[in-house]
């Protein structure tokens, strides 16, 4: 991937190179015409705004073309923002509200663009680290075309074909009615471009299903092999970008260090979730059951407990947000763990591109704090970190935290959340907080016990998603611009090495402290209270 962004040859070049250059001709952009950070950010904003506009237009018009019920304007706003910001929160019902073809040309296309934009921002940030005394960060259009042509489109074609050969249906959209084996009953089936949809949904950390039940649906995820391939694809781009980062800064150890920090948080939490799901529930011990808990509620037989929870951790750690089991029916402590993975601002793997630039923000904070502790000037990859950079870092860092908590405060004024949920007690608050966290961090998974698709929540969640994406992208680009202008400082004995185990553990510490301390009060009121209530019921 590093070669792609540096404009060097790759094994796909021989036939994609002419296509790439045709594109530049059509959009009248020269490859050498580089942008400064403001120009780059401006391009992203205009591009995203127009994406929203066109998508909104398609969603608005499709109702009259297909003779379907028109969508509420707030629902359209929520949906377009959700897919342009790579959140893929679904307030609409994919089976009922939008025709499959219109989903493919509006939502489906944004599933390509939104991860591509994420990667572009990351690449611009990395250029900030590598360039010296320059104001330029590359050309957004060139980066976008390259990411799409060389990385995202080829990978999604390959994975869509593999999904198809493993059993995921792929057909022209249609409804099939059959009468079932037990006589007298009819059953309606919806088939359509499911394999091609699923591939880009999973690969681009998107996560909006073509069916409401998403990756739990047997058409989207029919067997253990597709489940495993899905898990692999969820982690593929976010993890390989760590290596790309190392390669581009000419020091792969830096990439491995970041990858190690992610893994050290991810693996124990995942194992813990699987372990916790098997806990006995004492109120069920009188029933004639083989296992005295509700661990199979909301899970598919073919995936079982382990498969479902592996998916749950992977989907919340990366900002994918597709679900392979019902998150509302998980053991409460697992709601805590999955929420926790999202609350670390989606940096443990995170979204495609956005995960790593989020992580680099935390790395800069760590460098700053560690540098102050030992009395050295904070520097990372030879760049001095000064007041301006720290301001940008803090803006990007505090935004998701601020959004979740203030969003909760505003929404609680408008909604009586108790009436919206099928559950009671602390669980309702868990569901509420989970969904806000998911929207603000652009994850998109839901605890669907609570129905948050009324007009007010659609509007406010839409704003949270919008701010959660662009309020981070702009400071990150400003940061990149200011870093690129600096000269590098030669490494001396006074430099704090950023690839050692010591640094990795300090980084993990910072991540946990910021994640844990900000949200402990709300987590204590939600999933922790529910867990203790369940454990203490006997």
């Amino acid at each position: 991937m590093a070669n792609v962004f540096n404009g060097q040859k790759t094994f796909l070049s021989f036939f994609l190179h002419p296509i790439e250059h045709t594109f530049y001709k059509i959009i009248a952009v020269s490859q050498n015409d580089e942008m400064d950070w403001k120009h780059y950010a401006f391009s992203i904003i205009i591009f995203s705004f127009l994406s929203c506009f066109i998508m909104g237009l398609i969603l608005y018009l499709q109702a009259s073309i297909m003779g379907m019920k028109p969508l509420d304007p707030n629902l359209i706003f929520n949906t377009i923002v959700s897919f342009v910001t790579n959140t893929n929160w679904q307030a609409y019902s994919p089976e009922k509200d939008i025709h499959q073809y219109f989903q493919v040309i509006s939502i489906g296309v944004q599933q390509f663009f939104s991860p591509a934009v994420g990667i572009c921002v990351l690449i611009a940030l990395i250029r900030g680290f590598t360039r010296k005394n320059s104001t330029k960060l590359g050309n957004f259009w060139v980066d976008l075309v390259r990411v799409l042509l060389y990385v995202i489109i080829p990978l999604s074609i390959i994975s869509a074909l593999i999904f198809g050969f493993l059993g995921v249906p792929q057909d022209w959209a249609k409804e099939v009615t059959i009468s079932s084996l037990e006589t007298g009953k009819t059953q309606n089936y919806l088939v359509g471009p499911i394999a091609s949809w699923t591939a880009i949904e999973i690969l681009g950390s998107n996560g909006g299903g073509i069916f409401g039940t998403n990756m739990a649906h047997p058409f989207q995820n029919p067997n253990a092999l597709t489940h495993f391939l899905g898990l692999f694809l969820i982690l593929l781009l976010p993890t390989s970008l760590c290596y790309t980062f190392g390669k581009m800064v000419n020091d792969t150890r830096q990439g491995w260090a970041i990858f190690a920090a992610m893994l050290i948080i991810f693996v124990p939490l995942t194992s813990l979730t699987i372990n916790q799901e098997n806990n006995k529930i004492s109120s069920l011990s009188s029933l004639p059951l083989e296992t005295h808990n509700t661990s199979m509620e909301g899970k598919e037989t073919r995936h079982g407990i382990i498969g479902s929870l592996l998916w749950a951790s992977a989907t919340t750690a990366t900002s994918n947000g597709s679900i392979a089991a019902d998150h509302s029916s998980f053991a409460p402590i697992n709601n805590f763990l999955t929420m926790f993975l999202m609350q670390m601002s989606e940096t443990i793997f995170g979204g495609v591109g956005s995960g790593l630039y989020g992580m680099l923000i935390f790395v800069l904070i760590t460098v700053f704090i560690a540098g102050l502790m030992v009395g050295r000037t904070p520097e990372y990859l030879g760049k001095k970190i000064s007041a301006y950079e720290m301001k940008m870092v803090s803006l990007a860092l505090l935004m998701p935290l601020f959004l979740i908590l203030s969003g909760a405060w505003i929404l609680l004024h408008f909604l009586n959340i108790k009436e919206l949920s099928v559950n009671q007690g602390a669980q309702v608050f868990s569901e509420f907080m989970y969904n806000l966290t998911s929207a603000s961090n652009n994850n998109g998974s839901a605890m669907s016990g609570i129905t948050m698709s009324n007009s007010t929540s659609n509007l406010i969640l839409g704003f949270l998603m919008l701010m959660g994406r662009f309020w981070i992208i702009i400071p990150v680009l400003a940061l990149a611009g200011s870093l690129a202008q600096k000269n590098t400082v030669p490494i001396s004995t006074g430099t704090l090495p950023t690839h050692t185990p010591l640094f990795i553990f300090v980084l993990i510490g910072i991540l946990l402290i910021i994640g844990v301390l900000t949200f402990i009060p709300s987590l204590a009121l939600g999933p922790i209270a529910e867990h203790l209530g369940l454990a203490g019921a006997h």
Binding site: H39, I157, L161, P169, S179, S180, A216, F219, H303
Partner: protein
């Protein structure tokens, strides 16, 4: 200011062209290409793995069906009882482990299953009394299938070991020994059951 307006206009133009171009590539060519390739090389999978019986399509091996007749194996209990296993109505229960409604539902499913059993001390596998994530789960665990053997053997007047052997033949094992869980396809099992002679 003049410069900014020009910049805005040129960026808008580029954005529009990019959006149109890639909408055609990603929204039309990509799904179309994948559809054509898969329909050519794996037609039955691409169409939805439909299953025929006597020349008539009776379902898909990927999607569960509702069985309520005691002579058939039953699948996971559906959420929606009016339109069970329906694509547009299917959703998970969203009930939390602590919710008393969930306990009541499980109790109801247990009572229904037990009313067909003569041995009241049997233990029920959990997946047979809880609903699935998609509400369309085509599978049950092998234990759940074995649990129902007594009922089916007595309703159909079949030898118990014959039905047990049928279940055994239909168990799909973990892939490569570790991926997924052991399961039985309810529709395939019931189709085979109909051909079984006493």
């Amino acid at each position: 200011m003049h410069y900014h307006i020009r910049l805005f206009l040129s960026l808008t133009q580029i954005s529009l062209v990019m959006l149109i171009l890639f909408t055609i590539i990603c929204g039309v060519f990509y799904p179309g290409f994948v559809t054509i390739v898969l329909k050519t090389f794996a037609p039955s999978k691409a169409e939805g793995s439909f299953v025929e019986n006597d020349g008539k399509i009776i379902g898909s091996s990927l999607i569960g069906q509702h069985f309520s007749d005691p002579k058939y194996f039953w699948g996971r209990p559906p959420q929606n009882n009016e339109k069970p296993y329906d694509f547009k109505e299917a959703q998970a229960s969203h009930l939390s482990p602590k919710n008393s409604k969930l306990k009541d539902l499980i109790q109801k499913n247990i009572d229904h299953l037990m009313s067909f059993e003569s041995d009241k001390n049997k233990k029920i596998p959990l997946d047979l009394v809880t609903s699935s994530g998609s509400d369309l789960d085509p599978h049950i665990s092998p234990q759940s299938a074995f649990f129902q053997v007594d009922r089916i053997a007595s309703t159909r007047h079949l030898a118990k070991d014959k039905v047990e052997k049928l279940v055994n033949d239909h168990i799909e094992h973990k892939i490569w020994g570790f991926l997924g869980e052991k399961h039985v396809n309810v529709l395939a099992l019931n189709l085979a059951l109909d051909t079984l002679k006493s």
